[in-house]
Symmetry: C2
Subunit: 457 residues, 2 copies
């Protein structure tokens, strides 16, 4: 693989800024990309059909399989050079139908809570109940005396740190209570673990998401309650003993077959591959509009726009609708392994998985030199309200590629995070909460960076 050199960037730099008075061809082309995205964009209409005709599409569900058909059909309609399915194995977990949570205090007051089983959780096997013991973080739980936790129902109540500017950082700081809470509770003999939803807002929705169990730990049920209900439970606990009753009949089934959905425009110059995508699966509540329907339609739209404008790529541009990001990332891991096994040459990957809100730039996962190169684009993209080009994390789906292709550059589209966790993994993640212009600006930004990367490397 030809490594991305600063010389190449400086060359692009010249081409970017142009001579005084001469329209710069890259700037002109990027303006055309945005014109197409904003004036004739199809991302919003495509997202509507994904959300309304398919809906929530958790891995292993019939909705997930219909989403594969939806993606294949849509990509074929655009007549790209190739459209195909890549078979993969994925987990299969189902929520079931019963999902009830009550609290009761010593005076016999009762209250029903808004609850969702965590993805991957075991069921309760009927109604269970136990005294609630609260911890303000996973670390507190891990440090707790087993006697305090045994046979209790653990409540993990760490809220988002509202002082942070980046809500992904606030999420990251709390996410271990969801991911590892039931596992750690199980180690200490708890009956179940209930967490405060990982949400930036204080509202009535419970927010689900994946949890995991170590093989040597007894699996106990894990659930999330809404932030409003977490505040109520917390207030009740300050006044005395609280009993929690929980019933969930979610269960884990054997793995099943599913597919990544792939479309390509072939390169003029070589067969080196630039991968870009989002994930087609979602959780099983809401419609997966922001997570990650937005990334799916950004990706499809980027390829459509480049084709529509008659662009002839240097390298193969490969749009991937990854299956199973949410619970296991089997799609991303399999994609990377298959690429390696086939001897493909991968030089760059881009991901959109932070919602359909206002794009603000790109996080760059690569060497300092690679970061500098992308930063040379900044002045050209400022007019499109993109200003944030910094070293950072790319994305869950494309990350496994770096195991096989350590020299490749990866970019994660950076999107304003202020509203994302109001909707994330909840019934509120629906099409109506996506703004058309913000979504289409994301498609424009994604296409522009794919174009620039294809030209530069």
């Amino acid at each position: 693989m030809k490594s991305l050199t600063l010389t190449a960037a400086l060359f692009l730099g010249v081409s970017v800024f142009g001579h005084e008075g001469t329209p710069n061809p890259d700037s002109v082309f990027i303006r055309k990309i945005y014109d197409e995205a904003l004036e004739k964009g199809q991302a919003y209409d495509n997202l509507r059909t994904l959300c309304k005709d398919i809906g929530a599409r958790v891995t292993g569900s019939s909705e997930a399989e219909m989403a594969v058909k939806w993606g294949e059909k849509l990509l074929k309609s655009y007549q790209f050079d190739e459209v195909y399915l890549q078979e993969i194995e994925v987990p299969h977990w189902e929520r079931g139908t019963k999902e009830t949570c009550w609290i009761e205090n010593e005076s016999g007051e009762v209250k029903k809570l808004s609850v969702l089983a965590l993805g991957g959780s075991v069921g309760t096997g009927g109604l269970i109940e136990g005294e609630v013991v609260v911890f303000n973080s996973l670390e507190e739980l891990k440090a707790a005396d087993k006697a305090l936790v045994k046979n209790k129902i653990v409540f993990l109540n760490r809220p988002f740190d509202q002082k942070l500017l980046q809500m992904f950082k606030a999420y990251g700081a709390c996410a271990n209570q969801r991911h590892s809470g039931p596992n750690e509770g199980g180690k200490l003999g708890a009956k179940a673990v209930v967490i405060r939803s990982l949400a930036s807002s204080t509202d009535e929705h419970a927010h689900t998401g994946s949890t995991h169990y170590d093989a040597d730990v007894d699996s106990i049920p894990g659930a999330a309650i809404s932030t409003v209900d977490a505040d109520v439970l917390s207030a009740w606990l300050q006044k005395g003993k609280v009993t929690l009753k929980l019933e969930m009949d979610c269960r884990i089934y054997p793995n099943v077959k599913s597919h990544n959905v792939i479309a390509e425009m072939k390169g003029n110059k070589d067969n080196k591959i630039i991968t870009f995508g989002g994930h087609l699966d979602s959780w099983d509540v809401g419609e997966g509009a922001h997570d990650d329907g937005a990334g799916i339609v950004h990706s499809i739209e980027a390829l459509r726009i480049l084709k529509q404008l008659g662009y002839k790529p240097n390298h193969t541009l490969r749009c991937v609708l990854f299956m199973n990001e949410e619970n296991g990332n089997f799609g991303g891991k399999s994609y990377a392994k298959i690429a390696h096994d086939k001897g493909e040459e991968h030089i760059c990957a881009l991901e959109s998985d932070r919602g359909g809100f206002l794009p603000i730039g790109f996080d760059i996962q690569g060497t300092d030199e690679q970061v500098s190169i992308v930063q040379t684009y900044a002045s050209m993209l400022k007019g499109f309200e993109l200003y944030n080009f910094q070293k950072g994390y790319s994305g869950v789906d494309i990350r496994p590629l770096t195991e096989y292709y350590p020299e490749m550059i990866q970019l994660g589209m950076s999107i304003s995070s202020q509203r994302y966790f109001d909707y994330h993994h909840s019934e509120a993640d629906v099409f109506e909460n996506v703004n058309k212009r913000e979504l289409h600006l994301g498609a424009g930004a994604f296409a522009a960076l794919i174009y620039l990367m294809d030209k530069t490397i």
Copy 2:
């Protein structure tokens, strides 16, 4: 007035960047402002009461007078140095109760349209009807032959240019069809003028806003129909003749008394004044949540935060809740004249009137030198996602001050404009469409700039 010099800015520059390893006091203070805004902010709760307990508050209505009481009471509760009302005269227009619009084609098909009288429009005096003649811009109408327009109902159908990044520019390009459409139609003998709503989205809401009549022109009714209905009407017109029926009983009453609501923290150093504010009035549909409830609570919150943090300002910090921005700007004009007549010394003004969305920076109305000075803040504010510091327009309410104080610097808070015109002047401009974190980031940004301006000038 001491003019704002580059020397002062460079001095601040040193203080901003600090010596290596030394915490910079300005950065530390701005971080405290944001902590207060994001963790203990009251702007969102204040906006809820303004929207839900008062509601829409067009100038001259009892709601506008109740909003004055609301503002005065709230400001007094924060125990600022002074809180007082400033009496002004304002227009009084009422929508009335009847507002109906139908179209009918040559086959007798009929359709009811979503319609709102333009603010300041005369009524129809019963049901009127006429053949529709369409123009794609005000300029086309002005150039039209009188014979083509006389006794017709003019339909002005210029849409937003979606290719633009700044939706305020798209609005600006279309706004003359609302502001001057009925006046120009009147000159040519039209019966009424109906415009395509000034909206970025294609939806079912009509969006109102002010229109004006020259004294020597016959006043004819003006109304806005939803963008969806504008598309329907446009399609019908392509197939043949369309008749439009319109009934509105809106009317103009004599001017009434109202008030700007003012709160102050007195300066330690002198009596020079820094004014900041938004407008308390709104249109009479929706709840005026983004326009400009957001600016009102940004302004109140900025003063509250500075007081809460124990800040002792150099100059007098004056928070103004302006009345009557929407139809006449009597509040802003009167405020400036009274300031001048009293011999007050005004050195700076800031305005928030672009909604409660994500703040992205400040537009600076001033000399190149003044712009450069504000730009020296950029590196300190980058961590708060503020990046846009450029020469531009300040705001309608504070603009009249520059007539009397031409050397003053003015700043308009720059806010992402992508969603603003989905809600603007329509029934959709309600509290539920405001995001708490975005609103509180706006309060933080506004307070930070007031602090920096107070320190610098």
